[in-house]
Symmetry: C2
Subunit: 164 residues, 2 copies
Amino acid sequence: MILDSETKAVELPDDHGTELRLWLRLLTCTTLIEGEVRSRLREKFDVTLPRFDLMAQLDKVSDGMTLSDLSKRMMVSNGNVTGLVERLVESGHLDRRTSETDRRVQFIRLTKLGRAEFRKMAAEHEKWIADIFGDLSPKDIRELMRLLAKAKGSAQRSAKARTA
Amino acid sequence: MILDSETKAVELPDDHGTELRLWLRLLTCTTLIEGEVRSRLREKFDVTLPRFDLMAQLDKVSDGMTLSDLSKRMMVSNGNVTGLVERLVESGHLDRRTSETDRRVQFIRLTKLGRAEFRKMAAEHEKWIADIFGDLSPKDIRELMRLLAKAKGSAQRSAKARTA
DNA sequence: TGCAATTTCTTTAAACTTCAAGCAATTGGC
DNA sequence: GCCAATTGCTTGAAGTTTAAAGAAATTGCA
């Protein structure tokens, strides 16, 4: 243990252990929950998590969304979305329509079937999440929301600085 | 807005919106950081995140680990680890040795090369993480650690209840 | 207008991932 | 000892994911 002149514990100048442990805990937590949600979606609805996530994005809007929008919101690559959408159109959950003003653009929508199935899944999903976080008090949740917002901002700042 | 008899805002009995928003924020945060780490690992070391994660597990021990151990610690499937290890043995980063007491078991170790390369990457990685969380105060970090531990416990409780 | 830059999307290859099935080896109860 | 159950790992199929390259369309600027 290193002590400063007033006999208080201090960190080594380059010790970033606490941040690393925080990151590992964040990752563990997310992986755990994600795995749980993935299992339940497969088990109860025979749907994969990526498909559910994509439909969740589309359910937020009534008039459709482009592939690029989806890609940005889901934080996955463009090509990834292309394949996912293709399979969901194939299964009758989505609907694609080429823009009339820009022929590169495709507007993607949930079909009636897609929206109905998604709503059913989403209702269950919300209950699962509530149960998964069931031990947290409202205050815990507020605090976590606040701190995660701060962490997100910090990460964005760092990412931006690297790319710049 | 719904008010109770003492004119205090209350939630609908089945409104789990706050938990859902918390989950989405947690996921966004993790995805963002994971993507950033992935990019940097590829850019600076031309290594993938799963390979780095696997080596990180092995670096913690001196005498090797079985595939099952790796699978549990990384929270990924058994088959997944089989493939990852195969490629890392191929590239000379890992070393496999069959157990003498149980011929099903393989002990996996970092080779000298593997450990050296990992240590170099890990040092950089730790700095990246410190920068990514750079806007958080020590108190923020402590609080996040605490709340995430609580969330993890809650998720484990929920997962266990489902499987039971 | 002309055309370089940008944007949108698709395609490809390689890697990663899960799940389920299967094989080989060990264990535990009888 | 016998053998059913379990454990450790691999395999195969389907799907997800990224990165990189490319095709098609639009935009913006000289």
